[in-house]
């Protein structure tokens, strides 16, 4: 089911290790690259990383199982994470997660069945605070922000993803696939940095008030700091 790690992938794994003063520091991004090529952490991926770094497969496996972003089982083309940490949960994250489980017919960390006519698969997980509490309740898709969701917007979102309708992150580009996202996390640019806004509306609230009121930081006193 998963592609083998070809010579290009192995070359790129070496390249990642080469970015660091000590090669082993590359292990986390290397595992992200394994996921982008193979769709999950495979025994082959573990062996290959171990070989490149000169450590045991058991050591690599111990690292891979420690971090929640590394998946033993495949996820969907679009991995949907609903924040259910307290702030988002209270603001509606719990209701969104319940609705999506029901709508997709899955439990936590499962892939929804691919139906006839679906263009892409979707998996569902609840996630911890994603540093976007001022946009609560927050849903992540392949680690892009989908801010200020409701149960209705979230079901529409997964329907669109399955139907292959393009979806834009509220603070980023058009959503790419999970594997493409993992490649960016491994350190390979995808040319999308300039997409999306500088900041979402909530990020700018204080700045807007300051502009309206004419408030600024103090001017530098003459002669100081020069």
């Amino acid at each position: 089911m998963s592609e083998a790690l070809d010579s290009k992938a192995i070359e790129e794994l070496r390249q990642i290790a080469g970015r660091y003063p000590q090669a082993r520091s590359g292990l986390l991004p290397m595992l992200h690259l394994v996921q982008s090529v193979q769709g999950r952490i495979t025994p082959e991926g573990i062996e290959t990383c171990a070989e490149i770094l000169g450590i045991s497969a058991a050591e690599v496996s111990g690292v891979a199982t420690f971090y929640t972003m590394y998946k033993r089982r495949p996820v969907g083309d679009y991995h949907v994470g609903v924040c259910t940490n307290t702030l988002c949960a209270v603001m509606g994250g719990d209701a969104i997660f319940e609705r999506l489980k029901d709508h997709l017919g899955v439990g936590n960390d499962e892939v929804a069945d691919e139906r006839a006519g679906d263009k892409a698969t979707v998996s569902l997980e609840h996630v911890e605070c994603n540093a976007a509490c001022d946009f609560a309740p927050v849903v992540m898709v392949n680690w892009e922000f989908m801010d200020n969701q409701t149960p209705e917007s979230a079901t529409q979102l997964v329907d669109d993803l399955r139907a292959g309708t393009p979806v834009q992150s509220t603070r980023g580009p058009r959503l790419c696939t999970w594997r493409e996202a993992e490649r960016v996390l491994a350190g390979f640019e995808d040319g999308l940095a300039d997409e999306g806004p500088a900041a979402g509306p909530a990020s700018l609230v204080g700045l807007e008030i300051a502009r309206e009121q004419g408030w600024t930081a103090p001017a530098t006193a003459p002669g100081k700091g020069e």
């Binding site: 986390l28 702030l87 209270v90 603001m91 996630v127 605070c129 994603n130 001022d134 350190g187 204080g206």
Partner: protein, 453 residues
């Protein structure tokens, strides 16, 4: 409105003081061109041509800048602990793991203005004489990773990074490193283990990272906001920075407001502003509702109540009130919110994120979740209630001060503070039928849809 900053000129001081957030509304603010058009990298050019590394350390010390990642340790002092006679390379590591529940300031900063951080990294690395720096960013923020990488590429192309920066003879390489999902990797020594390609588990201290950090070499670890504050200090001077804030808590910071307020978002102000002032700026609580409880700086900082509305949000005042300023993650909950539900959810988070290295935290968070969950569902008898609350506090006692790192201590904060302020609400869960609250009334869409409140 009460002013908290002092100025030389006598004009009415500003309540909000955008510095780090000031360029977030600029066209394509994340690009090098936009950042330089706003005066960016001028501090770097000035420093490399006119300032010795030690002079920058002195400036940062004199400014009074304290760490913005939670603990509030003086940044300049931390830098001066780096033993310059140590023959090993020195490293700067930026903590961009931002995972403390409620905390949401570093991510928008890096999204809107990654060059502010990159310029801060170069100045700070120069000051501590590091030739290699890392930004450890949590993996779950794809677009931020893109913007950071693009900024670093642009900075290399412009000669701000690499060999012999602007002819100064100073070399610096900067690597963007994406994590893989683990709150504990925000703890600085766990972060170092993670950056070395290991499981992220805290290290025994001493030795401290300043002496034996990354690759057992002298290492400074600072929060994104701390490092991003450095360019403004170098550009405007230590006195300018110290003219904002209070006697002991100097400078500006980002306050992050979330929850049941009219205008959640980022507010940059001098240290010492109050929650009442911040709420007033944004139009207060959502219509028809009142403040019930809040965190001053993330879920690891003890809860506060409306009685603390006029407490200055600086390190000393929040500490005196029995909590901590932390990350200034102001999570605001109104009277529709069940405090037991909120606390249980946080404890489930700590249990899940406990790295398992020490028993008090690994076992203690498990027990707390067991008991809180039973309590929430009303599965204890009413006449056991007081005993169960005492048991919860006992279990917290067994973690606090006995855990290997601050994650365990932090896990006890929501429990002890909520039992202190909301004893009766806990007991009300045992009056029959479990939680007396309707979760639908707390949602963001409750007001819109007129759910019974």
């Amino acid at each position: 409105m009460v002013s908290t900053s002092s100025t030389d000129g006598g004009a009415a001081p500003s309540t909000l003081t955008p510095v780090l957030t000031d360029n977030w509304d600029a066209e394509r603010s994340w690009t090098l061109a936009a950042y330089e058009a706003g005066g960016g990298y001028a501090a770097l050019r000035k420093a490399l041509s006119t300032l010795q590394p030690d002079e920058i350390i002195t400036m940062v010390k004199d400014s009074g800048l304290r760490g913005r990642g939670g603990a509030g340790f003086p940044t300049g002092m931390k830098w001066s602990f780096i033993p310059q006679d140590n023959p090993n390379p020195k490293y700067l590591v930026v903590n961009a793991d931002e995972s403390e529940p409620g905390t949401c300031k570093d991510i928008p900063l890096m999204m809107a203005s990654p060059h502010t951080l990159v310029e801060g990294v170069i100045l700070s690395s120069y000051a501590i004489r590091a030739n290699h720096a890392f930004i450890y960013v949590r993996g779950e923020v794809l677009h931020v990773v893109r913007r950071l990488r693009a900024a670093v590429r642009e900075a290399y192309d412009a000669g701000h990074l690499g060999k012999d920066i602007h002819g100064s003879g100073y070399d610096l390489d900067l690597v963007i490193h994406a994590g893989a999902g683990a709150y504990i990797c925000g703890e600085e020594t766990a972060l170092l283990d993670s950056l070395e390609g290991r499981r992220g588990q805290p290290r025994l201290r001493p030795p401290f990272p300043a002496v034996a950090g990354l690759y057992a070499s002298p290492t400074v670890i600072n929060n994104v906001e701390s490092i991003s504050s450095v360019p403004s200090i170098v550009a405007n001077g230590a006195d300018w920075f110290a003219s904002m804030g209070t006697e002991k808590s100097k400078g500006y910071v980002i306050y992050s407001l979330s929850g049941h307020v009219k205008r959640p978002g980022q507010y940059e102000a001098p240290l010492g502003i109050t929650l009442r002032e911040l709420l007033d700026l944004g139009g207060g609580m959502r219509d028809g509702h009142e403040l019930k409880f809040w965190t001053p700086g993330g879920s690891s900082t003890p809860l506060l109540t409306p009685e603390h509305l006029d407490m200055p949000l600086d390190y000393e005042s929040v500490g005196a009130a029995g909590s901590m300023l932390g990350t200034r993650a102001l999570q605001i909950f109104d009277e529709t919110t069940c405090v037991v539900r909120a606390v249980l959810r946080w404890l489930e988070f700590y249990k899940h994120e406990s790295c398992g290295k020490c028993t008090p935290c690994r076992e203690g968070t498990w027990w707390l979740v067991q008991n809180l969950a039973k309590l929430e569902k009303g599965e204890f008898r009413r006449d056991e209630g007081e005993q169960i609350l005492d048991l919860l506090l006992d279990q917290c006692d067994n973690i606090l001060g006995r855990a290997f790192c601050a994650l365990g201590d932090g896990a006890t904060s929501p429990v002890t503070s909520s039992v202190q302020y909301f004893r009766d609400e806990y007991l009300a869960h045992l009056d029959g039928g479990g939680c007396p609250f309707d979760p639908a009334a707390s949602t963001a869409w409750a007001v819109r849809e007129g759910v019974k409140q």
